[in-house]
C-alpha cells in the first residue's frame, strides 16, 4: 500500500470544476512534482488533501487511513505537513514560536500543565524549543529565532514556513511553490534545504513548482496539470519531451 493514496478526486467551486479525477500514489521517501500553469488547480489539490476544502468526490488516504471528512488539524496530526504558497504566518509571533507551535499536538501536559507550569510542561516546552532551534539551524535562520516574522525578508519567511512544517514531524510534506519570489541564490539554497530534508528525514515530498529547473532536478516523477486535469505524467525527461506539455505549458514558460 502506498503512503498517500488519492483516487478520482474531483472538486467544484460552484460551477467551476477546479480539479477533475485526480489520482496520485506516493511511496515513502519519494519526491514527486506537480506543475501546471497558474489557476490549473495545484493549490486546490493541496487544500483538498489537507482538509481545507472537502472533495466533491474521491478517496484520500494516508497509510490506509481515510482522510476525507477529517478536520485539517487531524490530517496534519496524521502526518501530513505543508507550506503555503501565499505565506500564512502568524503576524504577532516570533520565528521561534512558529516552529514551537507546530509541535502543538505533541504537547501532552494538558491544561493542568498550562495553568500551573508543571515540571512536565517545562520539560516538553524545553524539548520543543531545542528542536525548533535545530530546525531553524537546518533551514539557516537560527540567528533570527527571536525576530518577529514580519521583520524577515520574503525568502526567510519561506524558510520559516519550511521549518514550521518540518516541526510537525510529517510523514509526507507538501510544498506549495516554496521558491516563489526568491532570487536565484535563495532558490539554490532552498533546493539544497529540500534535498537535505529529504535525506535526513527520509520524507516523502510532493512539490508544486513554477520553476522547472527545480522540479526537473529534484523530482523522480512529475505530473502536469491543466484546467484541473492531469495531461501528462512521467519522469522529468518524459515530461520535457511530451508534446502535450510543451504545447500547454512549456511552450509559454520554457524561458524560466
Amino acid at each position: 500500500m502506498s503512503l498517500l493514496q488519492v483516487e478520482k478526486m474531483t472538486h467544484y467551486f460552484g460551477g467551476l470544476r477546479a480539479v477533475h479525477n485526480y489520482d496520485i500514489h506516493i511511496e515513502p521517501g519519494q519526491i514527486r512534482g506537480l506543475i501546471g500553469p497558474n489557476g490549473a488547480g495545484k493549490t486546490t489539490i493541496f487544500n483538498l488533501i489537507t482538509g481545507i476544502h472537502q472533495p466533491t468526490e474521491g478517496v484520500v488516504s494516508l497509510e490506509g487511513k481515510n482522510l476525507v471528512g477529517l478536520q485539517p488539524y487531524q490530517i496534519a496530526s496524521a502526518g501530513l505537513g505543508r507550506t503555503f504558497q501565499n505565506l500564512l504566518l502568524w503576524r504577532h509571533m516570533s520565528v521561534l514560536d512558529h516552529v514551537i507551535m507546530a509541535q502543538y499536538s505533541r504537547m501532552t501536559y494538558g491544561l493542568v500543565g498550562a495553568f500551573f507550569g508543571t515540571a512536565k510542561r517545562k520539560r516538553q516546552e524545553t524539548e520543543a524549543e531545542e528542536k525548533a532551534y535545530r530546525l531553524l539551524e537546518l533551514v539557516g535562520i537560527s540567528g533570527l529565532a527571536n525576530q518577529n516574522v514580519l521583520n524577515l525578508p520574503y525568502g526567510d519567511q519561506r524558510r520559516v514556513e519550511m521549518a514550521r512544517a518540518l516541526a510537525m514531524e510529517p510523514k509526507i510534506l507538501f510544498l506549495d511553490e516554496p521558491t516563489a519570489g526568491m532570487n536565484p541564490e535563495e532558490l539554490l539554497q532552498m533546493m539544497e534545504i529540500i534535498r537535505q530534508v529529504h535525506k535526513e528525514f527520509g520524507l516523502a515530498i510532493l512539490l508544486i513548482e513554477h520553476r522547472l529547473k527545480l522540479v526537473m532536478e529534484l523530482c523522480e516523477e512529475i505530473q502536469t496539470l491543466v484546467f484541473g486535469e492531469v495531461i501528462a505524467e512521467g519522469t522529468p525527461e518524459e515530461i520535457q519531451n511530451n508534446p502535450k506539455v510543451i504545447d500547454a505549458y512549456l511552450g509559454k514558460e520554457a524561458i524560466d
Binding site: Q71, I100, M101, A114, F115
Partner: protein
C-alpha cells in the same frame, strides 16, 4: 474639562520620566521598600501633617479627588503627596540602591519562588497599611483588584484570541449570584433562604469553594455562548455574547428566589483584603502561565491565521472554547468576590455600563498583555474614582481619554508585552559594580 485632565496627568508623567532617568537601576524590591516606608509614614504623621497643611483629612487618593472638589487646596495637597509619598519613596529607593540590588540577587539565587513570595508579601503589606487609613480606600482597593481579574481574563478573549466578547459582565453576574446563593443559603439566617444550614465557623473555609462554584457556573454559561459562536468562522461572537449579557440580566430579574430586580443582600463579610489579594494573584499567575504556554499561544495562532493554525495540528475550535470558558471562570470568581465585597448584588450592576468599563480597561491597558491589563484596570479604576466629583461629565472625560489612546496607540498602552515575573524582580545591576 481638557484642562483638568491634563493637569491631572502632567505632574505624574513628568515625575515618571525623571524617575526613569535617575532610578533605572533600582530593583523592584527597592521601590517596594520606599512605598512601605511611605505608607507607614502616612499612618504615623499623615493626620498631623494634613492638619498642619490646612487639609481636612489625609488626601484619600493622592489628592486626585480634592483637586476637583476644592481647587483651593491643590497646593497643600501636592505638598502632602510630595512629603509623604514622593520624597520618601525616591530617597529610599535611591539610598537602598546597593543593598536592594544585593538583596534581590540573593533572593533570586536562593529560590525563585521564595523571592516572588517575599515581593508579594511586601506588596501586600504596603496595600494593607495604605488601605487602613480609610474604609473608602479599602473599598477602592478591593474593587481595583477585582477589576484586574476581570480585565486580565477578558484580555484572554479580546486580546490573545482576538475575538470580541461582550458577555463578561454576564459571567460576573453568574459568579456573583452563585457564590452569594452558596454562602447566604448555607451560612446566613436570611429571609430568602431561611435558617443557616452549616455552622458559620466553616464559612471562611468553604468560601473559596463558593467562588470556584461561581466560576464553574460562569464557565457553563460560556459554553452556551461558545457552541454557536465558534461553530463557523465569522464574527458571531460579538452579537451572541451581547445577547447573552441581556439574557442573563433579565433571567436574574425574573428569578424571584434570588430577589429578582431588588437584588440579593446579606452576604457574609468574608471577602477581606488578604482574600481578594490572594485570588487576584492566583488569577494573574494562572492566566499568565496559560498565555505563555504553547497551548495558550495557540490562541495567537488562531487569531493571526486560523487556517495555518489548523494545518499545524492546532485544534482551533477546542482551543477557542477552552480559552473562552477559562476566561469566563475568572470573571465568575471575580463576580463572587465583588458580591461579597459589596455584600449586595442586583442585576443592574452587570449591564452595559459595566461592559463599557471593562472593555475600556482592556483596550486602554493594551491587547495581548497581562501587564497592560493590570495597568489598564488600576489606572481606570483610580481615574474613575478621581473623576467621581465630575459626576456625569466623567463619562465624557474617560471616553475622550480612550479615543486619544486609540489614536496614538491603537492596540493600547502596553500591548503585546510579555509579563515576565522573573525579569521583573531580578536585580537591575550586579552588586558592587556602580556603572
Amino acid at each position: 474639562m481638557e484642562a483638568t485632565s491634563s493637569e491631572l496627568s502632567a505632574p505624574e508623567s513628568g515625575l515618571k520620566s525623571k524617575i526613569g532617568r535617575l532610578f533605572s537601576r533600582v530593583p523592584i524590591i527597592g521601590w517596594l521598600f520606599g512605598a512601605l516606608v511611605a505608607v507607614i509614614l502616612e499612618q504615623i504623621v499623615g493626620m498631623p501633617l494634613a492638619l498642619a497643611l490646612g487639609l481636612p483629612k489625609i488626601p484619600v487618593l493622592f489628592g486626585f479627588v480634592t483637586v476637583l472638589k476644592k481647587p483651593m487646596l491643590v497646593p497643600s495637597t501636592m505638598l502632602f503627596v510630595l512629603l509623604i509619598y514622593f520624597l520618601p519613596i525616591v530617597i529610599i529607593a535611591r539610598l537602598s540602591l546597593e543593598p536592594a540590588n544585593r538583596l534581590a540577587e540573593k533572593l533570586i539565587n536562593f529560590s525563585m519562588e521564595g523571592s516572588v513570595l517575599i515581593h508579594l508579601v511586601l506588596l501586600y503589606a504596603i496595600l494593607h497599611i495604605w488601605a487602613e487609613v480609610s474604609d473608602y480606600r479599602l473599598l477602592i482597593l478591593k474593587f481595583t483588584l477585582i477589576a484586574i481579574m476581570v480585565t486580565v481574563s477578558l484580555n484572554v478573549i479580546n486580546g490573545y484570541m482576538g475575538e470580541f466578547s461582550c458577555s463578561h459582565p454576564g459571567f460576573m453576574a453568574l459568579g456573583a449570584y452563585t457564590a452569594s446563593v452558596f454562602t447566604v443559603s448555607l451560612f446566613v439566617n436570611d429571609s430568602l433562604f431561611g435558617q443557616a444550614l452549616l455552622p458559620s465557623f466553616l464559612g471562611p473555609f468553604l468560601f473559596p469553594l463558593g467562588l470556584i462554584l461561581g466560576g464553574c457556573v460562569a464557565s457553563l454559561g460560556a459554553l452556551l455562548v461558545a457552541i454557536p459562536s465558534f461553530k463557523t468562522r465569522g464574527d458571531y461572537l460579538a452579537i451572541i455574547s451581547l445577547a447573552f449579557l441581556f439574557i442573563v440580566k433579565s433571567l436574574i430579574e425574573n428569578l424571584e428566589f434570588v430577589g429578582g430586580p431588588r437584588g440579593l443582600s446579606s452576604q457574609p463579610d468574608w471577602a477581606n483584603l488578604p482574600i481578594v489579594f490572594a485570588w487576584t494573584v492566583a488569577c494573574i499567575w494562572i492566566i499568565n502561565n496559560f498565555v505563555r504556554s504553547t497551548l495558550g499561544k495557540a490562541l495567537n495562532a488562531v487569531r493571526d491565521e486560523e487556517t495555518a493554525a489548523n494545518a499545524m495540528t492546532v485544534n482551533t475550535r477546542r482551543t477557542k472554547m477552552v480559552a473562552f470558558m477559562f476566561a469566563a471562570f475568572w470573571a465568575g470568581v471575580a463576580g463572587g468576590l465583588f458580591a461579597h465585597v459589596l455584600r449586595y448584588v442586583n442585576p443592574t450592576t452587570f449591564g452595559i455600563q459595566k461592559l463599557a468599563e471593562v472593555l475600556a480597561m482592556v483596550y486602554f491597558g493594551g491587547l495581548n498583555s497581562v501587564y497592560g491589563s493590570i495597568v489598564g484596570a488600576v489606572s481606570l479604576s483610580i481615574l474613575g474614582e478621581a473623576l467621581r466629583p465630575l459626576e456625569l461629565f466623567k463619562w465624557i472625560v474617560i471616553p475622550l481619554l480612550l479615543i486619544l489612546v486609540m489614536i496614538f496607540r491603537p492596540t493600547g498602552l502596553i500591548a503585546f508585552k510579555e509579563f515576565n515575573v522573573k525579569k521583573l524582580i531580578r536585580p537591575k545591576q550586579s552588586p558592587g559594580k556602580e556603572v
